[in-house]
Amino acid sequence: MKRHYLLILTASAVLALPSLVQGQASTPAAGDVENGKRLFTKQNCYYCHGTEGQGGRDGARIAQIGLNAQGLIRYVRRPAGAMPAFSEKMISDQELTDIYAYLKSLPKAKVPKDIPLLDQLK
């Protein structure tokens, strides 16, 4: 019988650490948004962060991520919380840069007052 492990993943503040020190490794080429979108799906980032990077109980919002590309790479290599580390064997710096580009390309959310239903729920 399956169980829900509510607590471990609930605690994940996965990628929402804007204070991370920026990396100083060699800078990858500018990210490829389309490839980033493909990798975002292939690497199953959406499991915890949602298909639009909107976040939820098990992962932080990463659409319009507050880190720069080096910050993202650094975090993915040595994450805090429940997120597992993704080594270079699994995903290269360039691929993470592509994902970064994709996350930055995602549209910013409207403010609630511009969504009639949310405005009503205030």
Partner: protein, 648 residues
């Protein structure tokens, strides 16, 4: 057991005799040579008299019709069950309780209890689980003592861990010679309740009707005394089916139900907690299964407002209004006094753990240094060894064994006696801070909900917002947990009444959601409430036949599928394992995804006779679909809307 009529051959006696006779025939096979010798010997004996010949050749006298009794023991069992005020009995039919089944529908008139036709014993218990959390009393479940109880066992464990009363009556044929063939031998068991004894509160296997009456009442009383839990009574098939003589009928009686008051905490210990709470600068109350009843909710509001102490709600019951300024506005890390009310595994709530948690060493307290932690819980009064739902050892500074709801009145009074004008001023000052935090959290929830607003698959925030907009002016009751939807209902909806939320499984056993929702909806039916279930797709596939039960019994329930097409929690875990092993994360859909083909839940519901629509993938189509389904539910029938959703 009650005696049957003197001189009559009852069914049991007849079958015993028949069995002996048959055994004798089988035990003495006659060979062809022996048959020839026998015939030769017979030729030498004198011819029988006419009377003897007539006796041997005439047809045997008619056997006693064993089904002709008008008062089987099961009738008395129904009397006992009726005395408890049980409204419903959920059952998948089974031969070991067929006499009780028949007595319920005919002798008992199929009313209090009314029989609910279930397609799986897990559904029966799940329904009883949900029903009890709304109605505050148990539903009865009937099942075979063997195969039925095996099906029911996971659901019983859920109810046990959730401290919910379920009244289980199982059939069994204890007396071997009474069993009619292989089926009944394989369905019989020496100690029927043993299978679930680790996660039930009490059981008995009465060997007489008198004892059945007593055990039936005792079981109810035990189930309903906090800490509540499932109980099991074995209804022996011989007792059910054997006739009860007129004389014995007059002697049988059902004992009076003497209700046990809930155990309240020790007054001295309660005074100590009150003293600490009143003196605290930043108290925090953690609520687990604190509010058993509507009064429990009211009492917790009174205590929190008295002290201006915020609530950290584990969402296991409807403990506290979700838009109250004290709801979720505290901080465990900043609190100097923490009071936990009916919180299971409090250690885990108050400590951090890493995902690996090697040797249980990688943890640290989430409370600040020097903080005092108090616990009031009836969980201290019911712990068993084998199943480990008791959690890690509770290191609180003071643990009060008692029911939180029963203890709150004395705690409130003790606090009132200690509150001075100075302390009152401090409390008033901190209330403004919490009101401000509550407003910020509310604004943040609305802003967070705006992300992925137009996404397909549909965001769980959008789903929750659309649904809330349609039910908020109704007398609604959400009967599903909301963790799998990133707690969006809790963040967006305005929960104020006890029946508006009932928590989740208890033991996290999947397959609970659909039947518990049907049971809760049945309890809500007589109050005219609009019952809503946000249904996880994986959960529904365990025993979807409960949809038919809802349709068959006209149970008004809105089921909205959270169809993320996966056992998503497990998928995340396997992804985690793959990443740790530095292997291919992209393969973890294998064994977890519910795709290829996608499951068509609307067709499934339609097949069970329920109004349905979907799959809805475009968020713009969601509100109209939900509205139509709500109209069906308001007319007294169940309806299902299949919504293809984001993972969480």
């Amino acid at each position: 057991m009650a005696n049957s009529k003197k001189g009559s051959v009852n069914r049991r006696g007849f079958l015993k005799g028949a069995a002996v006779g048959a055994a004798a025939l089988v035990a003495k096979p006659v060979s062809s040579e022996a048959q020839v010798a026998q015939q030769t010997a017979q030729a030498r004996v004198p011819l029988p008299s006419a009377a003897l010949a007539a006796a041997e050749t005439s047809p045997p006298p008619p056997r006693v019709d064993v089904y002709s009794t008008d008062r089987p023991g099961a009738d008395f069992m129904v009397d006992a069950i009726k005395s408890l005020g049980i409204e419903y009995v959920a059952a998948n039919p089974g031969s070991s309780f067929r006499a009780l089944h028949e007595a319920i529908i005919n002798y008992g008139g199929n009313k209090s209890p009314e029989l609910l036709t279930c397609c799986h014993e897990e559904s029966s218990v799940g329904m009883a689980h949900g029903y009890a959390k709304i109605e505050g009393k148990p539903m009865m479940v009937m099942a075979h003592g063997t195969v039925g109880l095996q099906h029911a066992s996971m659901a019983i464990y859920n109810a046990y861990a959730d401290r919910v009363p379920v009244y289980v009556v199982i059939g069994n044929i204890a007396d071997g010679p009474f069993r009619r063939g292989d089926v009944e031998w394989t369905h019989a068991v020496q100690d029927a309740a043993a299978m679930v004894r680790d996660y039930t509160k009490w059981d008995d296997a009465p060997v007489s009707l008198t004892q059945f009456g007593e055990s039936a009442v005792r079981a109810y009383k035990i189930a309903m005394t906090p800490p509540m839990a499932p109980v099991v009574v074995v209804a022996d098939a011989v007792l059910q089916e054997e006739p009860v003589s007129e004389e014995d009928r007059r002697r049988l009686r059902v004992p009076k139900l003497a209700v046990t008051t809930p155990p309240a905490g020790d007054p001295d210990a309660v005074s100590q907690v009150a003293k600490a709470l009143v003196a605290a600068e930043t108290p925090l109350i953690i609520a687990g299964r604190s509010a058993r009843t509507p009064n429990g909710l009211k009492l917790l509001v009174e205590l929190a407002e008295l002290l201006q102490a915020p609530i950290m709600d584990r969402r296991m019951r409807m403990n506290f209004p979700t838009r109250h300024p004290l709801y979720g506005t505290g901080s465990l890390a900043q609190s100097d006094v923490v009071l936990a009310l009916e919180v299971p595994d409090l250690w885990t709530v108050t400590h951090s753990q890493t995902p690996v948690n090697r040797m249980g060493m990688e943890s640290k307290p989430l409370t600040k240094a020097g903080a005092k932690v108090f616990s009031i819980s009836s969980l201290e009064l019911l712990m068993k060894s084998n199943y480990q739902d008791f959690g890690r050892y509770n290191e609180s500074d003071l643990v009060i064994a008692g029911d939180a709801e029963a203890t709150l009145p004395s705690l409130i009074e003790a606090c009132k006696r200690l509150i001075t004008a100075d302390r009152k001023r401090v409390f008033d000052q901190r209330s403004a801070k919490y009101a401000e935090t509550a407003k910020r959290l509310r604004d943040q929830a609305l802003q967070d909900a705006a992300w992925a607003w137009d996404a397909s698959p549909i965001a769980t925030a959008r789903l929750s917002a659309e649904l809330w907009n349609l039910v908020r002016n109704e007398d609604w009751s959400l009967v599903s947990g909301d963790g799998m939807q990133s707690n969006w209902p809790t963040r967006l909806w305005d929960f104020t009444k006890h029946y508006q939320f009932i928590g989740a499984q208890g033991a996290y056993g999947i397959g609970y959601g659909a039947p518990a929702a049907v049971g809760a909806a049945l309890a809500n039916k007589k109050y005219g409430r609009l019952t809503v279930n946000i249904q996880n797709d994986g959960d529904l596939n365990y025993a979807p036949g409960v949809l038919w039960t809802a349709a068959h019994h006209h149970i008004p329930l809105l089921t909205v599928m959270h169809n993320n097409r996966a056992y998503h929690q497990e998928r995340m875990y396997v992804a985690d394992m793959a990443a740790r092993a530095q292997r291919d994360v992209s393969r973890v859909d294998i064994g977890n995804a519910l795709t290829n083909p996608n499951i068509d839940y609307a067709s499934m519901a339609k097949g069970y006779g329920m109004y349905s629509v979907g799959p809805i993938e475009n968020p713009a189509e969601l509100a109209p679909a939900l509205k139509k389904a709500i109209d069906v539910v308001k007319r007294g029938e169940p309806a299902l809307v299949d919504v293809v959703t984001q993972p969480r």
